[in-house]
């Protein structure tokens, strides 16, 4: 079954629900049911949190190294330096979110202007 399998007006909404909404929501519901049974200090919860964090980190690096849309036109070295520079500045500035955003964006946008 594909996004354009059927011509009904409601099919894209059904497709988004089946392909995007339910596969996300199911983990939230699972979390509500699991918290009743799992000890909050359990080592298993630490493992679950580590895997969850690494999964999102992989999504982040996907956005930096294999982006879509306008970022695709930006050279890889510039994307990588903006990401690492922003995060490095963030660590240097006592974990301040604003510093990460400002430095990362300055490197990226400054680099785009400089090479164009």
């Amino acid at each position: 079954m594909f996004y354009d399998s059927f011509d009904y007006w409601w099919w894209p909404y059904a497709f988004i629900t089946l392909a995007g909404v339910l596969p996300t929501a199911i983990w939230r519901w699972a979390g509500v049911f699991a918290i009743g049974n799992i000890d909050e200090t359990s080592q298993w919860l630490t493992l679950v949190r580590c895997i969850a964090t690494a999964l999102v980190a992989a999504v982040i690096s996907q956005l930096v190294f294999f982006p879509t849309g306008a970022l695709e036109q930006v050279p890889l070295w510039l994307r990588a330096s903006a990401a690492l520079g922003g995060f490095g500045a963030f660590l240097f500035a006592n974990n301040r979110l604003l510093v990460c955003m400002l430095v990362g964006q300055t490197i990226l946008l400054g680099g785009i202007l400089a090479i164009s």
């Binding site: 988004i16 596969p23 580590c50 999964l55």
Partner: protein, 250 residues
């Protein structure tokens, strides 16, 4: 039954003190809210480039309500992938919702809370309001915590959907450098806010491992790169955690 709140002096009926709902909403004017709205401006632009109709975008933003899932789902639609390819990929990107909910529920539960309350409110769990509520919970009396979280999350759902929809209508007029900057907000924001919510060193290691392994596996096994980077990176970080916390031999 009327309950008097010791901290605020308010009285409220029932399990929750809904006077905290508008206080949660007031976080619309905060840096994390501004960043999240900007990230959804970027998503609105992506949806426009993908030719996703406006109605579907307006449905998708609050119904999915997790930016990695949005990106994976939209990417799958653009790639004309099958439902049976997109749904597992979205599910993998959303696994972290489970531990996030598990961390939040004990904080926002009030005496008299029912499981169905949690099943409803958990659909609003996403990084911004989650991080903020976890940090703030200790200052809020228990009956106010769920309303506070729901207030912040719901104003974010409305404002990000409005931002994405607006840009969807205007994006053609935006220069590429503006769109590039907006798209880049998401990875910067995710990396920094996850780093800040990590409770143990192992979670920071997991962030580094997953980030480094992602592109490596993308070259080796493109179809399963996110899953493998997550499982191996996460398990590796947990292994280091076990080594570091090993009890010294008696």
């Amino acid at each position: 039954m009327l309950v008097r709140d010791e901290t605020t002096g308010n009285t409220h009926k029932g399990v929750y003190d809904w006077s905290w709902f508008p206080r949660g909403m007031a976080n619309l004017f905060s840096l994390p809210a501004l960043i999240l709205i900007s990230a959804f401006i970027g998503f609105g632009g992506l949806a426009r480039e993908a030719d996703l109709p406006l109605g579907q975008l307006i449905f998708m933003v609050p119904a999915i309500w997790a930016l990695p899932s949005h990106l994976v789902a939209l990417g799958g639609i653009v790639a004309e992938a099958s439902l049976f390819v997109i749904a597992p990929a979205v599910a993998l990107a959303a696994i972290r919702m489970m531990p996030m909910v598990m961390a939040l529920v004990p904080e926002i539960r009030a005496p008299g809370s029912k499981r169905w309350h949690m099943l409803l409110v958990c659909n609003m769990v996403a990084i911004t309001a989650w991080v903020h509520t976890l940090q703030k919970a200790a200052e809020i009396p228990r009956p106010g915590r769920l309303p506070y979280f729901a207030g912040f999350a719901s104003i974010m759902m409305v404002s990000t959907t409005a931002a994405a929809a607006t840009v969807h209508q205007l994006a053609a007029g935006f220069p590429p450098i503006v769109m590039a900057g907006l798209y880049f907000l998401t990875p910067l924001y995710f990396a920094a806010s996850i780093w800040n919510t990590a409770r143990v060193l192992a979670e920071k290691l997991a962030l580094i491992f997953g980030f480094a392994l992602g592109p490596l596996f993308a070259l080796l096994v493109p179809q399963a790169s996110i899953l493998l980077a997550g499982l191996i990176g996460g398990a590796g970080a947990f292994g280091v955690h076990l080594l570091l916390n090993r009890k010294p031999p008696a």
